[in-house]
């Protein structure tokens, strides 16, 4: 599957002028999020969205598909298997797009820092514009982070998508290292039953062994 929506053009350094400033105003006031419920953090979002904290005040709202969304929320730990889907979804999103990592897991692995299926640094695989520390962050912290992100968008600092385009090779290499690696990391495992023997064959072999 070729990823046609990643187009590697030279990144023009867009200066902040009146038009980009205006565009950034609209972008910050209307952030539609794709909250990919990768982990535990999804439970903190309903209170953020509903009447207690009311995210819609800020013009934010959930969207159904990555095509429509501006903001990708990585809520909590991210397993390798999910990572593939998250990258797929991120690449389907349209620019400008922002990524927010929830909790400690996307920052450094959190309590899963030594677990084999969970990645430790989200920053290595996709550009993260804003990280929220905590396990899990409370809705207040989430709203706070969104407001900070809005400031950064207005100032033209939240340019993770440009970084992704510019350093696509590096990100791609890291992704491949985890997702498409060809060799074992520690000890290669040789399946003794790779030839898929039947039970009768195995038993015959065992009785042979015991005779010897």
């Amino acid at each position: 599957m070729e990823h046609d929506n990643i187009y590697l053009t030279n990144l023009r350094d867009e200066k902040q002028n009146m038009w980009t400033g205006l565009a950034n105003y609209f972008r910050k006031r209307s952030m539609w999020m794709l909250y990919y419920c990768t982990g535990c953090g999804a439970i903190e979002l309903p209170p953020t969205m509903t009447s207690r904290y009311d995210m819609e005040r800020l013009g934010m709202g959930p969207m159904a598909t990555p095509r429509q969304a501006d903001l990708l929320l990585i809520t909590g730990y991210l397993s390798v298997k999910t990572l593939k889907r998250v990258i797929w979804s991120y690449e389907q999103m349209q620019e400008p797009k922002y990524v927010v990592g929830f909790g400690s897991c996307p920052i450094n692995g959190g309590i899963y820092w030594d677990a084999y299926p969970v990645i430790n640094h989200l920053e290595a695989f996709m550009p993260v514009d804003m990280s929220i520390a905590g396990c899990m962050p409370r809705p207040q912290a989430i709203i706070d982070a969104f407001e900070k992100l809005m400031d950064e968008i207005q100032q033209g600092k939240a340019v993770g998508y440009k970084r992704y385009r510019k350093h696509y090779d590096w990100y791609k290499r890291n992704q491949d290292l985890v997702l498409n690696r060809q060799s074992a990391v520690l000890t290669p495992y040789v399946d003794p039953f790779a030839s898929m023997p039947t039970a009768a064959e195995l038993m015959a072999q065992e009785s042979e062994d015991s005779h010897v």
Binding site: V80, K81, V118, H121, W170, N174, L186
Partner: protein, 176 residues
């Protein structure tokens, strides 16, 4: 509560099994791996119709795997653990999907996580792990910490051909 089944098991399979009462409503039966199939088929006729799960334990000091079949009876309200030991070097076990069809994914998972082979199971492909090349991860001789540090730490990811600001930004994140 389980006296009835305990006695019947003793009388019918006495020479092949060892029974132990672990807990009210919980009975442990240890047996040889070639006898598990017979025992489970018999238990199924004795109203133990529900196979709840198959679990696997790595007894690394004894160089053995232990398979535990959890069966349950809705009539006697009893839980029976059928336990058997496998050789850790060549771990294989008869598939029981002829007795319980839904044992298939349980066996598939044990195959993936421990490397126990189930001849007769039609699908032993990977279920959870993505592109796994190492030892099966639930074995005790597999070190997840080393694995995680070797694969997921930022050190392993090269910084050539990148501009300095970006390297700065990335390496600041490194936690050591």
């Amino acid at each position: 509560m389980y006296d009835h089944i305990f006695k019947r098991a003793q009388s019918l399979h006495g020479d092949k099994i060892t029974c132990e009462k672990k807990h009210p409503q919980q009975l442990e039966i240890k047996t040889d791996r070639h006898y598990v199939m017979n025992l489970l088929s018999w238990l199924k006729t004795e109203s133990y119709v529900h196979l709840a799960f198959i679990s696997c334990i790595d007894w690394i000091e004894e160089n053995q795997f232990e398979l535990v079949y959890h069966v349950y009876s809705y009539e006697e309200k009893n839980h029976i653990l059928v336990k058997t030991r496998l050789d850790r070097d060549r771990p294989w076990m008869h598939s029981i999907i002829d007795v319980w069809g839904h044992a298939q994914p349980y066996e598939q998972e044990i195959h993936e996580m421990f490397g126990v082979y189930f001849p007769g199971n039609p699908d032993l492909s990977g279920l959870f792990l993505h592109n796994w090349k190492d030892l099966p991860p639930m074995r005790k001789d597999f070190n997840p910490k080393d694995y995680s540090l070797a694969l997921y730490s930022l050190k392993g990811m090269g910084h050539e051909a990148l501009d300095m600001d970006f390297i700065q930004e990335i390496t600041e994140l490194e936690v050591e």
